[in-house]
Symmetry: C2
C-alpha cells in the first residue's frame, strides 16, 4: 500500500440518445485528477484545487471529492485512517461532461488506494455516488458509473429504487465528438422543462431505440447507432435551452457524424462517428455552427475510454 | 421455382419482460405450416385449414394467410399469378404465442417461394404485417418479425411511425418454457387495462431493463436476463387478467427459471432457463400452479429458434 497516489477519472456522456438516466459512456478525453496521501488523523482534508476558475467549494465538507473520500473511509477505513487530497480539474464544471462525477470517482479511487487497496472498482460505486449526491443533489450513477468502470454502462433500476451499474460491450473504433458552448444550464431548469408523464407511444419508441443502440454499440454498426440515437423523452424539451441545437446537430451530420444529442443535461452536445480524422471535421463543424448563433465553444474528439478511473504515475499527462 | 411448397413459421413470445411492443423471440416449439401451389388465375384461394377447432375464418379474404399471400402477390407477382393455400395449425389461436403471426408468416414465405423466390425473408416483412393487421387489427410486427427472421428481434420505431425489425444476437443454450392455460383474453381487454400515460420513473426503469436484457441475451448471462425481465408498463395491469399469475411465476422460479412474464398479451406465461431438463421441471411446476387455481394448461419447453420461417420437405414434422 502506497502512502501517496494519483488517480484519474474520465469525462462521461450520460443520457445517451434515448437512454435518459440509463446509458452513459466514458471518454478518453479530459480527465480529473486527485492525489491522495494517507494520514492517521481520521480526517478528510482538501489541501488544494487547481485547474478550475476558483468557483468550486474549497472545503472537504462542501466538495464532492471530500464526500466521496469520506464515504470510502467510513465504509472501508480502520480507526484513525484519514486522507489529504489534491484535486486537479481537467473537466469544465457544469458543462454536461460529468465534471463532478469525475472528481468524485478520482477521489474515491485515490482514497481507496491508500486506505483499502483490496477493494476493486465496482466496490467503490456507492462512495462515488455520495460525491455526486453532494454536488448535484442526486446520487444517480449515470455519470459516476461509466467514469469509474469505463466503457458503456447501463444504470439498471431494481426494485426498491436500487440502481445497479451494468457494463455493456462496445466495439472498438467508435469516436465521440463533444462541443461545449460557453454557457450554463441550471440543473433545476433542465429538469423543469421535462413533462411529468409520457404517452405509451413515446415510451415504446425510446425503449426500442435503447434496444437498438445497445446492440449497435456492441457490434460497432454505425448506421444502427445513428438511427437509434433519437430521443423523445428529454431532447425535444431540453434542446430549447441550447441555442443552435438543431443547426449544430445538422452540421455534425453533414460533416460525417451518424447521430448525436445532448450530453448529460447539456449544454455540451455530442456526436458519434468512427475515425479520428472524421471526428476533427465534425468537431470543427459543430464549433462553427455554435459560433453562428453567437456561442463560443470547445470541441473534443475522444475514443471511448474502456478502462475507466485508474491510478497513474506522478508524471501522467492527458493523452498517455 | 417449385410449383408447390411447404413453409413453417415458429411460435413467438412478444412483449418480452420490459420490452412491451419492442422485443420478441422465436420458439423452436410449435409451428404453423402453409402449403402453397402456384396458379395462373390471379387469385388467392384458401383450400383447407386443418389442426384447428374449426373457429378460424375459412375464406382467404377473412383469414390472415390470405391477406399475407395477397400482399406478396400484389407486391411481387406478375399478371395472372395466383396461389392455392393449405393451412395446418400447430399453434393454439388466441393464447399469446403469436398464432396469427405464424400463419401469416408461413403463408408469405410459401407464397413467395412459388411466386418470387428471389425475395429474401426481410423483404416479406411488410406482407406478413398485412396478415397481422387483418387478424389483430394492428400491423405491429413484434410477433411476425421474430417468426419470419428467427431469434430475438427488436421492433424499432422510426420517425413517421415507421417500424424496423432489427435482429439482435442471442447466446446459445437458452430455453424458454411456456405455459398456456385454457382461457382467452380479448385483445381489447388486455389493451384497456393499461394506463394511457406513465411517469418518468417507470419509463426509466423499463428502458434500463431493456438495455440489460439485450446485453444479457447476447452474452447468455442468465442472472442478468432474469433480473432484467421485470416490467412496469403492462405486466402490473395485465397480470390481473390471468388467474394464478403470481403463483405460476413463483413456481417457475422455484423450479429453476431465472425470470419470466406474460407472453404477448397472454394468457400464456413464459419463463427463461438454460437446460432442457430444468425446462421440463419448470413447465411441470407452472402447470401444477395453474391447476391449483383451477386452470388446465399446456407447458412447452423450447430452445430459441434461430432460423425463423423456412421451407421444409413434405414429410416435415415438428422436432425436425
Amino acid at each position: 500500500m502506497k502512502d501517496r497516489v494519483r488517480a484519474i477519472a474520465p469525462a462521461t456522456v450520460a443520457n445517451i440518445g434515448p437512454g435518459f438516466d440509463v446509458l452513459g459512456l466514458a471518454l478518453d478525453g479530459p480527465y480529473d485528477q486527485v492525489e491522495a496521501e494517507r494520514t492517521e488523523d481520521g480526517l478528510v482534508t482538501l489541501v488544494d484545487i487547481t485547474g478550475d476558475d476558483g468557483a468550486l467549494p474549497r472545503s472537504a465538507q462542501d466538495n464532492c471529492v471530500g464526500a466521496a473520500a469520506q464515504a470510502v473511509l467510513t465504509t472501508f477505513g480502520g480507526p484513525g485512517a484519514g486522507v489529504r487530497l489534491w484535486l486537479h480539474k481537467g473537466l469544465p464544471p457544469g458543462s454536461g461532461l460529468g465534471s463532478s462525477a469525475a472528481s468524485s470517482v478520482a477521489a474515491a479511487v485515490a482514497t481507496a488506494a491508500v486506505i483499502c487497496p483490496e477493494v476493486a472498482a465496482p466496490g467503490l460505486l456507492d462512495a462515488t455516488r455520495e460525491g455526486e449526491r453532494l454536488a448535484t443533489g442526486s446520487p444517480h450513477p449515470d455519470n459516476v458509473a461509466p467514469s469509474l468502470l469505463g466503457g458503456l454502462v447501463a444504470c439498471v433500476v431494481r426494485e426498491q429504487g436500487r440502481v445497479e451499474a451494468l457494463s455493456l460491450p462496445v466495439a472498438e473504433g467508435l469516436v465521440i465528438v463533444t462541443a461545449s458552448p460557453e454557457m450554463q444550464i441550471p440543473t433545476e431548469e433542465s429538469r423543469a422543462v421535462m413533462p411529468d408523464r409520457y404517452g405509451l407511444e413515446d415510451v415504446v419508441a425510446n425503449m426500442s431505440r435503447v434496444a437498438g443502440l445497445v446492440s449497435g454499440f456492441a457490434s460497432g454498426d454505425l448506421d444502427r447507432i445513428g438511427s437509434c440515437l433519437q430521443d423523445r423523452l428529454a431532447t425535444p424539451y431540453r434542446k430549447e435551452l441550447i441555442p443552435g441545437f438543431e443547426s449544430v446537430m445538422q452540421a455534425a451530420m453533414e460533416a460525417g457524424a451518424v447521430g448525436g444529442g445532448i450530453s448529460g443535461a447539456g449544454p455540451t452536445l455530442f456526436a458519434v462517428t468512427d475515425a479520428r480524422r472524421k471526428g476533427a471535421a465534425v468537431g470543427a463543424a459543430m464549433v462553427e455552427a455554435f459560433a453562428a448563433v453567437g456561442l463560443p465553444s470547445v470541441a473534443r474528439v475522444s475514443p471511448i475510454d474502456a478502462r475507466g478511473a485508474r491510478l497513474v504515475g506522478p508524471d501522467w499527462t492527458p493523452g498517455d
